[in-house]
Symmetry: C2
Subunit: 379 residues, 2 copies
């Protein structure tokens, strides 16, 4: 009887009421039954994305939304900046290059945040840059980029769009889409939204829609203009993932009951407690700057292999975190506090990490990290 | 208390055990928990597709699989044939043209099947044709094309691939992928497979993989070679729709318990009974040739509007069928017998159609169609 705990930065645990909402008899997406469902999802996403613009719902993983954000707003040869500070920055580059964009990368050392002034300097040096692609949270390093400051810079350039991958940040970080001027923001279902994978979301500003008119890259499945026309009629281009959209409404209802500011505060508190507990154990954070509210990346001490920690956590304690990717593989363990997460997810994560490290021979005093988390999480 | 009956050609009803399989706690697609799940899905799909080749699982609606079938095997400028005999033939043309293929359409009158000899003549006239795109079942007209005869022709041409949209045909029709030599076959989850929308499936022959090596169209989200490499490790490129893949395994288990030939026989019997009942009512089939086992398209009598019939069936009787699309709009009603369908789905469909038409003033003898269906469906 090994109970299972999912503490990965996506997929994240799905609340029972959301799981059960998917067990309803199927309804047809072209019948009137579906119209109020999609209408409700549309309104809920505007609330969550903090925007007056429509948020498109695509039947794909988050990466599909990222592809749509490239192919619908740019042309081959367009000069764009990609902030590459981890696996998902690298993904922006790969997508842009696949479609022939001219990518200038701002390379950020893993574990650090991009300096907004570096983006400003690039934009000032070349007024022909058509887009700036960033993550809000770079999942592979656990770092949050200063989206507000970056948006403040980019919005001064009339011909430059800001495209934010908020897949891991949404729900955990307060992202003021309209107020800050984020042109395109991409979300995914299997993260803060507490849903299974299968939906991506894209919000689009009027400035981005103007770029769409000039964008000629081929697109069919992710044709966002057609998707938008259909959404205005409470329809989708192709067969709607009705089941996941019903679940989306249930998840949004849970977040609305909590209140958006409370949701952000909860994530801030859980993340802070996790970090302080990690330090109390005597470990270091992998995120040297601006650690995110979504996931905490923890450096493994000398002589302890991160993949062994990942495996031990899973096999001995039933706790699924995430190891490091690429150059961080073996060096870190990541514990998320994202979406359907509360006090005792943090306690379980820290307690199991202490027990695992102790078992692997790392000298620590059991309960020290837990006590720190308890102290910070007492209500 | 209006009970609801879903008799549309996708989405189709989802069995309770499949719905409930989706209510399990989330697991991580990069954890060992997922490997046996995807392995099982892989084996189940090979069985269902009747192929030794791997069947890829994509997180998209069926149209995503269609896009992948174009962008991974062709180049801009390639000459291809599209059989266009309805809305979904038209979709092949649109996708191919979006990516710059040189499309020669074989236009088939709605309600009729393509003549295999017409394809043969085109291929003989131009040895440079790289692909033939067809539907197995053209959902908009309810017609089944003779895939076996078409495959026999196309496989004689070394440089020509046969690409079959089997989204509405799979499970209802016996499609012998390997034996007939279908190079690429696309399926979707929300049809015969009795699942919610959100997955597409693509089987790929060795001949198609050779074409893939020369194909240079841009692709990222639907990069089938990478998807295949990952599938061999029981992984997917991006966040896996774990929930739907668990449901897929449950649905395949139901089909395997029934037996593949029994599944086809059931669909043949239900479709035959539906057609004969329709004739007993005094109505005509819209499919003038080769009506499918998936869906029966029924011509509305003079003075009766198909959309009114669709609406009355839904609102008065709780029965969701499908109306006609485009030029068939208002002229037909479609009743499916696809996937999780049995004797009494046919009886409900015919009974509600009789009651609806009678209510709209069409002179018919109630129960005549039902009696014919009963006679043919007695076990």
């Amino acid at each position: 009887m090994l109970k299972k705990y999912l503490l990965a930065p996506g997929p994240t645990p799905v609340p029972s009421s959301v799981l059960l909402s998917m067990a309803q008899p199927m309804i047809h997406h072209r019948s009137p039954d579906f119209l109020p469902i999609l209408d409700s999802a549309k309104k809920g996403l505007k609330w969550l994305f903090q925007t007056e613009n429509d948020v498109l719902i695509l039947c794909s993983s988050g990466t599909g939304g990222m592809v749509g954000a490239v192919t619908n707003f740019f042309n081959a040869g367009d000069k764009v900046i990609v902030v590459n500070g981890g696996k998902f920055g690298e993904r922006w580059t790969k997508i842009c290059q696949t479609y022939g964009l001219n990518v200038k990368e701002i390379i950020v050392e893993w574990g650090y945040a991009v300096k907004p002034s570096d983006i400003e300097n690039e934009l000032k040096a070349d007024p022909d840059i058509k887009g700036v692609f960033i993550q809000a949270v770079e999942t592979s390093t656990g770092v949050y980029y200063d989206v507000e400051a970056i948006a403040k810079i980019v919005r001064q350039f009339d011909n430059t769009l800001l495209i934010v991958d908020a897949i891991s940040a949404l729900v955990a970080h307060d992202l003021k889409t309209d107020e800050w001027g984020i042109d395109i923001m991409v979300g995914g279902s299997q993260k803060g939204l507490m849903l299974p994978a299968g939906l991506s979301f894209v919000s689009i500003s009027p400035k981005a829609w103007r770029a769409n008119e000039r964008a000629k890259l081929p697109r069919f499945y992710f044709n966002l203009k057609k998707e938008h026309e259909n959404l205005q009629k409470n329809q989708t281009n192709f067969s709607s993932p009705v089941t996941l959209i019903i679940a989306l409404n249930e998840a949004i209802k849970l977040l609305q009951n909590e209140g958006l500011q409370n949701v952000f505060n909860r994530h801030t508190t859980l993340a802070h407690a996790t970090r302080e507990a990690v330090k109390a154990i005597g470990l270091s954070l992998y995120s040297k700057e601006s650690p995110s509210n979504s996931v905490t990346a923890i450096e493994m001490p000398a002589g302890i292999d991160g993949q062994t920690v990942y495996k031990t956590l899973r096999e001995k304690y039933g706790v699924t975190g995430a190891g490091g990717q690429d150059r961080a593989r073996g060096k870190i363990i990541r514990l998320a506090h994202l979406g359907y997460a509360d006090v005792f997810d943090v306690i379980v994560g820290i307690a199991s990490l202490e027990m695992t490290l102790k078992g692997l021979g790392y000298p620590l005093e059991l309960g020290k990290g837990v006590a720190k988390a308890q102290e910070l999480l007492m209500r």
